[in-house]
Amino acid sequence: MFAKLLIIIIVAGCTAATLLVNRQHRIDTAHEIAGLHARIVDHEQNLWRLRQEIASRSRPEDIRRALQSFDRHWVSLPNRSRLREPRPEIRLATGGDFRIRDARYEADDAIDEHDLGG
């Protein structure tokens, strides 16, 4: 009789302990979810701030000034003319690393072949 009662108490105790452990896991998970949610919200708000900063640094006049500082003649990409006359070939006196080409002949070149950097 005593043994049966003891077993019942032990089993009840183990069950309670197991329930407590599960409860703790649930609480820990909820806490982690809340923490993740807070981090996602932080990241989102950081993205808002970055978007604003990028927009501030890419204003039309800033880009225009940057392009002007490269000291090159920029042509809008859609403004490509087809070949009409024989290609004039002019070599610079600097040693021939560069050739001045007519923009008309750039029409079929891939966009990334334009030298956009210094």
Binding site: F2, I9, R49, R51, A55, R59, E61, S76, A103, E113
Partner: protein
């Protein structure tokens, strides 16, 4: 053995009673704690808002015009502060501010629970306050609106007020679409305020506002504002207005309105709200009509031709010297006499006498209907607040003076927006576009309904005549080396504010043009208000060059090929 069994029973019963007592105690503490304990426990549920962002305003290429981010307001709860005497110094050290100023904010309000020190902190100040961890000092998140392009197109975009609601311009116009809806997060917390549990119904997500895409192009806007600032300054003008319209779609690509107050000049245009903030002023491109002068001639010229009142090569009795007298004796003066001119020459040389001759061949109803056809006397409904329908003489008040004045662009007042909308008819196939300030979506393009104003043939003839304005007439100074323009210049006297006639030697110089002539893409109108006559006042000389320069830059930016036949193609430096 029996003794051991008895002790065992006692222990078991004792343990059961103990556990039962503990259980009862837990229930009692949970349901009905005593007063002292209850004061410390309080509510275990917390709630905080989930901020949602106000919608972005972007230009036609998706560049950000207006956006929001989260900022922080610094506040103090004087009741929680340990020492009110030193709190100001602690805060000042953290945020690099004047402690005396902070003290002046806190001390008189020591009985309050919420005293604002700074409405908006910079990022480093927020970090500093967090690190300082001063008791009684808090950071309250709030939405902050940013306009990355500063005052560019400020009058069109508008701004938001303290409650993050739209005040003026597109911010006000689209306030409902832009407005966010904050959410809420309700959670069970522990003694250290950490979240323990969130019920499924405890989270309401926030909904950010919709993005509004304008028809505006920021690059074109910058081009326009730069040129207009220069011309207003160089001609010491009272102000200037310019509109750039995509003639094929009716989208407004750029719109600017400049006021230039000058010392000692009488009756200048004022806008007190604009002095408080550029975004709060009225937009004179829609609110303030003006007398268009000769820029109005193409509309009546086209309708008179279509009605068969005159043919292109018909010679009219325009005077070689002096003035022309109408059938009722009214005297009409031309800027320059040309003798017997053809109807085509009336346009290219901008002859008032020729317009009056043909105006007398039209009935009042035909003239009134011609004006209404092009949308004058009606709002364009582009969406900007305070739009004026312009001023058109009522049929009841219409007399011979009106009949002969309107074709010259007098006794009628139009807004710049009405002018570009109407002029776009000549840049299209004779249909009137609907001007708009929001980008046209693909579905809208497919379903666009337009109103036919002129036949295609008359449209082409009128455009041809206006092309000759550039080569033979008043637009010669505004000829472009890259693009063929079709245009009309106008020089009108500045009316007095009290309605008592016109100012002597004060004018409104205007110029309107479309380009390229071979395949028109844009229409540009420039109105220069009250340029200094000592420097220049004719539309073709003052406003014409600005329009030409803007058209050149804008069409190159849009990648439109030059259509001048002898243009040299640009060169590009390229690595082999």
């Amino acid at each position: 053995m029996q003794r051991a069994t008895a002790w065992g029973r006692v222990m078991v019963i004792g343990m059961i009673l103990l556990m039962g007592f503990q259980l009862a105690r837990v229930v009692q503490l949970k349901i009905s704690p005593n007063e002292k304990l209850a004061a410390h426990v309080g509510s275990t549920m917390s709630s905080r808002p989930e901020f949602a962002k106000r919608g972005d305003v972007v230009d036609r290429r998706g560049r950000v015009v207006a956006t929001s981010s989260l900022g922080y307001r610094l506040f103090v709860d004087p009741k929680l502060v340990h020492d009110l005497g030193t709190i100001a110094a602690e805060i000042a050290e953290a945020i690099d501010a004047d402690p005396v100023e902070i003290d002046r904010e806190i001390i008189p309000r020591r009985d309050r629970r919420y005293v604002v020190i700074r409405h908006l902190l910079e990022d480093w100040q927020v970090d500093a306050i967090r690190r300082a961890n001063i008791r009684g000092v808090g950071l309250q998140p709030r939405l902050v609106r940013h306009y990355p392009n500063g005052e560019l197109a400020a009058g069109l975009i508008g701004m938001v007020g303290f409650e993050h609601t739209g005040l003026g311009g597109m911010e006000h116009r689209f306030d409902q679409q832009l407005e966010p809806q904050s959410g809420r997060l309700t959670y069970l917390r522990d003694a250290r305020q950490r979240a323990l549990w969130i019920e499924p119904t405890g989270y309401e997500p926030g909904r950010s506002g919709e993005t509004v895409q304008l028809s505006l192009d920021l690059v074109i806007q910058e081009i326009v504002e730069r040129h207009m600032q220069n011309v207003v300054a160089s001609h010491n003008a009272g102000g200037g207005r310019m509109v750039v319209l995509d003639s094929q779609t009716g989208e407004v690509l750029a719109l600017t309105d400049i006021l230039n107050p000058r010392e000692g000049w009488e009756e200048q245009t004022e806008d007190p709200m604009r002095e408080r903030h550029p975004a709060l002023g009225r937009n004179r491109c829609v609110t303030d009509p003006y007398e268009p002068g000769s820029t109005f001639k193409p509309f009546i010229w086209a309708v008179a031709t279509e009605l068969g009142k005159v043919t292109l090569d018909e010679r009219l009795d325009t005077p070689a010297v002096g003035v022309y007298r109408t059938s009722r004796g009214r005297r009409i003066r031309d800027a320059f006499n040309h003798g017997n001119a053809t109807w085509h020459d009336v346009m290219t040389k901008s002859l008032n006498s020729g317009m009056a001759i043909v105006a007398e061949r039209m009935s009042k109803q035909q003239m009134q209907e011609a004006i209404a056809r092009f949308g004058f006397g009606q709002r364009t409904n582009c969406g900007l607040p305070g739009e004026s329908p312009g001023i058109v003489t009522s049929p009841r008040a219409w007399n011979h003076y009106t009949q002969t004045s309107v074709p010259m662009g007098h006794e009628i007042a139009v807004t710049p927006m009405q002018m570009v909308q109407a002029f776009a008819v000549f840049a299209r196939d004779g249909t009137l576009p609907r001007v708009r300030l929001t980008a046209l979506g693909p579905e809208e393009r497919a379903l666009e309904v337009t109103n036919r104003v002129l036949s295609e043939e008359i449209t082409r003839k009128t455009r041809r005549a206006m092309r000759d304005v550039m080569t033979e007439g008043t637009g010669r100074r505004a000829q472009s080396e890259k693009y063929q323009l079709f245009s009309k210049s106008g020089t009108a006297q500045l009316p007095k504010r009290d309605g008592g006639g016109y100012h002597e030697r004060r004018y409104v110089a205007s110029f309107i043009a479309g380009a390229p002539y071979t395949d028109p893409r844009i229409v540009v109108l420039c109105v220069i208000d009250d340029p200094d006559p000592e420097i220049g006042y004719f539309g073709g000389a003052v406003a014409g060059p600005v329009v030409r320069d803007v058209i050149d830059e804008v069409l190159i930016y849009l990648g439109v090929e030059p259509d001048q036949p002898d243009i040299e193609q640009p060169m590009v430096l390229r690595r082999p």
